[in-house]
């Protein structure tokens, strides 16, 4: 493995920050669109569907890049529970980033709603019309969105904790541009 790299590759960092913006927008659009009957409802829905599919595609690319380049090692002095939390949160992110778009696509399919992307491109249904499947997938999609947002908040808190309190280079590993001397990380 490539254990000596201190930062994620530029491609990984680019994917991370682009997706961070997409996912935050997605979560806000999701709760926002469910809260209104005004015309912006349609605008928000028409962004939510293609953006979800875009996140799914970006996640698959990102997963491949991650398997190819790996991740920089966590600091050796990081307590074991924090290391475990970091690892588990990464798994949770990948599960949600892949699962949420599929749940959304599936729940629309089970309700026979067309899934229209930008430019009028239509995706096929991935499930048959079914009230019970629709209910199951809708509920899962809805509640996991709040889990997802909570995970994002936890992730931001942890990133800031690394950046401001521990100053151990973990934040710098994913920062868009390097803000610290990289040797600080190498100890």
């Amino acid at each position: 493995m490539i254990g000596t790299r201190l930062r994620f590759t530029p491609l990984q960092r680019l994917l991370h920050w682009v997706m961070a913006v997409c996912i935050l927008a997605m979560l806000f659009i999701g709760v926002g669109m469910l809260s209104t009957v005004r015309p912006k409802f349609l605008t928000l829905v028409s962004i939510h569907k293609p953006l979800g599919i875009a996140i799914l595609v970006l996640t698959l690319i990102r997963l491949a890049v991650r398997l190819l380049y790996g991740a920089p090692p966590l600091p050796a002095d990081l307590p074991e529970p924090m290391k475990l939390a970091a690892k588990l949160s990464h798994y949770a992110f990948y599960v949600l980033m892949i699962g949420m778009p599929l749940l959304g696509w599936g729940m629309l399919s089970a309700a026979a709603y067309p899934v229209v992307l930008f430019g009028g491109v239509r995706l096929p249904a991935i499930l048959p019309l079914s009230d019970s499947l629709h209910t199951l997938l809708w509920n899962t999609h809805f509640y996991l969105a709040f889990v997802f947002f909570a995970l994002v908040l936890l992730h931001v808190a942890a990133a800031l904790f690394h950046a401001l309190v521990r100053r151990d280079g973990v934040f710098d590993a994913m920062a868009p541009v390097s803000t610290h001397d990289e040797v600080a990380r190498a100890q």
Binding site: A112, D131, S132, W138
Partner: protein, 352 residues
Amino acid sequence: MAQPSQSPTRSIFGSLVLIAVIIAGGAAAFAYTAGWFSPQRLTPEKMVAALAPPTGVALGHRRNHAKGICFTGVFEANGAGTALSYAHVFTRGEYPVLGRFNLATADANALDATVRVRGMGLQISTPDGEVWRSAMIDAPFFPVSTPQAFYELLIASATKDSNAMKTFAGAHPEIAAFGAWAKSAPWTGSYAEDRFNSLNSFVFADSSGTEKTVRWSLLPAAQPVPVSPEDLARRRADFLEQEITERVRGGPQHWTMIVTVANPGDPTADPSKAWPEDRRTVEVGALTVQQIQPERDGPCRDINFDPTVLPSGMRTSDDPFPAARSAAYAKSYDLRTAEAKDYPRTATDAKP
């Protein structure tokens, strides 16, 4: 970044406070977006809840237009509609149709004779995989101008306060025209004799990209025979469903679809205002209803006739209703599909 003038402990404390503020701010922004700090916001939940009848919600059913019956048939396009929209559905040909005759009531057990407004949900599918859904009613215009006013109308008509409706009518004078229609328009004894109107306006785009704002209607081929409400009240509770079932068994029923084009300056955003009679209309094809199926096991049951499900070549206009209907219909759909056990299918192994 490091502030050497401060003691490390103070600096760490400050950082932790900063982190807490950022996280709390993020959570608050999310809650605000979700409407949790805005009790006045008209949500789909509020709209759907306001539709609940005094007899209680019809679990497992649509929250409005709760009583209905499915049909299947074809739409035969004559090709004339291609002058208005490049949607495949207007290219000369026959396209399969799924639909639903219904009554504008939240009571799934309403007596057919008691419901003034009747409706039709329609879905036309084309071979390119696109669908055009529409939900029309037989009234020539809508009671009110905005979704907010419709919500207030529901609230006013549900209260026991006899002045509530007077106050509402004072604030929304457009409802007088609808009241006059409801009083004077003839009733018929059959869905097959009713005209159904989109009421909302939509924008059609032709192949050159020219856009026109339109409304559409289905005109019955059967001659409407006026029947007095008193005579209808003597008929069976489900006379409309029984009549259309027997009628279609005897032979397919037809409607002509016409598209009406707005002139510049016509009230495209206000479905309570009919457009002048002299507006250009294009006859685009004919709907043929070939079979009737009871809703319980029928193909229309799990279809949401969301009027914003449109093929390429059509889009929503400045009319605020389709968006509000889409949001409320989706809420109704989510609720009723979760209540399927309260409206059990008779054939448990029925495949949709």
